[in-house]
Symmetry: C2
Subunit: 159 residues, 2 copies
Amino acid sequence: MTDENPAFASRVSVLQVEEGVELAPKFDRDGLLPVVTTAASDGVLLMLGYMNLEALQKTIATREAHYFSRSRQKLWRKGETSGLVQKVVEIRVDDDQDAIWLRVDVVGDVSCHVGYRSCFYRSVELENAEAPVKLRFVEDSKMMDPVAVYGDLPNPTKL
Amino acid sequence: MTDENPAFASRVSVLQVEEGVELAPKFDRDGLLPVVTTAASDGVLLMLGYMNLEALQKTIATREAHYFSRSRQKLWRKGETSGLVQKVVEIRVDDDQDAIWLRVDVVGDVSCHVGYRSCFYRSVELENAEAPVKLRFVEDSKMMDPVAVYGDLPNPTKL
């Protein structure tokens, strides 16, 4: 067990981490790990977020997705502003336990702050790969109005 | 366009990044961005990797997944050792263009160095959430023998 948190095991061997049945997550130098969130209904990738230890604990305990907001530098219960809460159906961990996969049902079925269902609403044009590389939209309409939902909150996208 | 690479656009505004049709990726302070790789056939999450600029360029140009290996600190053409090449069906980018989604067909249908199809072969026990948190295997057998495939190459998993 870690000193900080008896919920998770210490990492003692590659065999334990890869083939064991203890959750022994590895956080990066910022105390975060990446989280892949997909729709339990149809497997669509909704977003890629980050969790710190507290967010992972709260997600397991409440079965609602919690992340660490890098733009706001704080714990973020997904949907706390928008109401677009993610109900956790399954949590998986990868071989070396430095990444999490959340399968979720989303209240309102929207996960992207821009208004699309998925954050991954654009696809790289592979047929015409001349520089500069172009994108095309694969979601054709927004499912919510960000201004109505978020008002004048700062946009999390940074340049 | 960036100075280093005319294939990608410079990031000039949030509107351009979120709603535009130019690929203008954002790499982190290590020059990397996370990549979510799913099976085109059934949507299963296979792995989470990282790309640097060169890996993203090569993936687009060759339509075979290239990553940046953090353990080896070098460009990594997936399958170069194992033969388990990932053929790219689609590349998507997220709202703020700091994450990539690859949909792939995998030669041999195995993507995890431990031998399972997916790196995410274990699920967190949510029914019995007493500390310490336990995992259960959701893939019940390995699809390749890592020793036969990789020999005595160093294991990429780090403690």
